[in-house]
């Protein structure tokens, strides 16, 4: 069976972990600095007061003047999530994290050890801890497991039998499908709100109208998706932290601190000459917030100069003075040599590679080299007025 674990509003729960005084209060996650002023997930008390995630900050404060905002804490959130994943791995599950608050795992290996499927799922829930209000769904298909987790009560697991998958999925909303806003809009225009309504459409018509994404969604809605679980290899924690005597906002000083951290980290004996595939730079900010950037390297390297060149520009993105800077090496190579991959990367890993490739293209050909096509007047009779190219920021 494939199991899916979800922790709803995880970034907010992680940010509230060290703030017991806010328990039971109307609280929402503050917008990210430099992004649109839209609030993130909110507590039940805030929801009762009419607050909805994604609301404009001004509207939210007008609706509920008592609303308390907590700063996003991506570094803290990632740490907490890593601890949860490690607890699951310690309990015997090989997990595939999708995003903070959602992970998949196979139960087969643990069922015999725990004494059945239900006991294995109980073991997973206990490993996470009741404080996070985990929900688990289990099914023979990945999407059905996610759907089951979405309707499971907090701290409980729901198991969907293979024969009942279609019936179970039928009344659930199509929002569960990982579709782009455009595809979602198309489904809405067609009046399709439930998975059952999508599943009943002819497959060829769905492929014709909604393309590859739509076809995949159609298979998922019918409980016919083929995707399995690709468990991660638990990362070895090789990290160094530098505490500053007073907050530092100067990029030059941060650059020196980064160089010192890199030298210390690369000299660590547990690295054993192996090169990191991924490197994360995190900062604890003045005022209690945090900032974190994870960088997947185009190819693993342990050259301090190359790592500094890759990480240096990120320091310009730090939004506030820094109290402490932390550098983590992630996914160390198996050996000191370089090995080409046999299996094509998929999912998040593929997206990370693509993002890194885009950065590489931008670094090589200039900031305008990678653009997004934005339709501005698709109805125009003048072809060059229909769309523009906008340089990408990511």
């Amino acid at each position: 069976m494939i199991a899916c674990l979800t922790l709803s509003a995880f970034p907010l729960r992680a940010a509230l972990a060290g703030r017991p005084e806010l328990r039971g209060q109307p609280v929402a996650l503050a917008p990210e600095p430099g992004r649109l002023p839209l609030i993130g997930p909110c507590t039940a008390a805030a929801a009762d007061a009419g607050i909805k995630p994604g609301m404009r900050l001004s509207e939210a404060l007008a609706t509920c003047p008592e609303l308390r905002l907590v700063e996003q804490d991506p570094a803290g959130s990632e740490e907490q999530w890593e601890r949860i994943l490690r607890r699951l791995e310690d309990a015997g599950f090989a997990v595939e994290p999708v995003e903070a608050g959602c992970a998949y795992f196979e139960t087969r290996g643990v069922e015999r050890l725990a004494g059945g499927l239900e006991a294995a799922l109980r073991r997973a829930l206990d490993a996470v801890g009741t404080g996070w209000q985990p929900r688990v769904g289990a099914a023979s298909r990945r999407f059905a497991a996610l759907a089951a987790a979405s309707v499971a009560p907090a701290g409980k697991a729901i198991v969907v039998d293979d024969d009942d998958t279609g019936l179970f999925l039928e009344p659930l909303p199509v929002d569960l499908l990982a579709l782009s806003p455009e595809r979602r809009g198309e489904l809405s225009e067609l009046g399709i709100k439930r998975l059952g309504e999508l599943a009943r459409l002819p497959g060829a018509a769905v492929a014709d109208r909604l393309g590859l994404d739509g076809s995949e969604a159609w298979r998922q809605a019918r409980g016919e998706d083929e995707a399995g679980v690709a468990p991660r290899r638990p990362p070895e924690a090789v990290a160094e932290t530098l505490e500053f005597p007073e907050p530092v906002g100067n990029e030059l000083t941060l650059g020196w601190a980064l160089a010192a951290l890199l030298d210390r980290l690369l000299a660590r004996p547990e690295r054993g000459g192996r090169a990191p595939r991924q490197i994360a730079l995190a900062a604890r900010l003045i005022g209690g917030g945090s900032w974190r950037r994870t960088l997947t390297l185009r190819e693993p390297t342990a050259e301090a100069e190359r790592l500094r060149a890759a990480l240096g520009p990120r320091l310009a993105e730090v939004p506030a003075p820094v109290v402490s800077l932390r550098l983590e090496l992630g996914e160390l190579t198996e050996s000191a040599g370089v090995q080409a991959e046999l299996i094509r990367p998929r999912g998040n890993r593929l997206r990370e590679r693509l993002r890194d490739g885009l950065r590489q293209a931008r670094a090589a050909a200039g900031v305008d080299a990678v653009c997004t096509v934005v339709e501005v007047a698709p109805w125009s009779r003048i072809p060059e007025s229909r769309a523009i190219l906008v340089p990408r920021d990511d």
């Binding site: 993105e317 305008d368 096509v373 934005v374 060059e384 007025s385 523009i388 340089p391």
Partner: protein, 90 residues
């Protein structure tokens, strides 16, 4: 405080997609017979675009969807205000 990279001055700006490119077109009675030195085998379709006539930059074009002797499809237009020919994906 470190400045956000988006606030720092850079030269990034949006640009139009599918801008017309000047083409060398030989015409007979207003119809293209050669595009960039390749003879035209067939004119599949012809249409006119008259737009923005209410502005100071009106658009008046006569488009031709042609098949070249090499088998390639091409769309060319004649700017009726300047008499110049351009190639563009329609």
């Amino acid at each position: 405080m470190v400045a956000h990279p988006r606030e720092q001055g850079d030269s990034r700006s949006a640009r139009r997609l599918n801008e017309p490119r000047p083409a060398r077109v030989l015409e007979q009675k207003g119809h293209p017979v050669e595009v960039n030195r390749v003879p035209v085998a067939l004119v599949r379709e012809e249409w006119r675009v008259a737009d923005r006539w209410w502005t100071e930059a009106p658009v008046q074009r006569r488009y031709f969807d042609v098949v070249l002797e090499t088998g390639e499809n091409a769309v060319v237009f004649r700017d009726e205000l300047t008499g110049r020919w351009y190639r563009q994906r329609a």
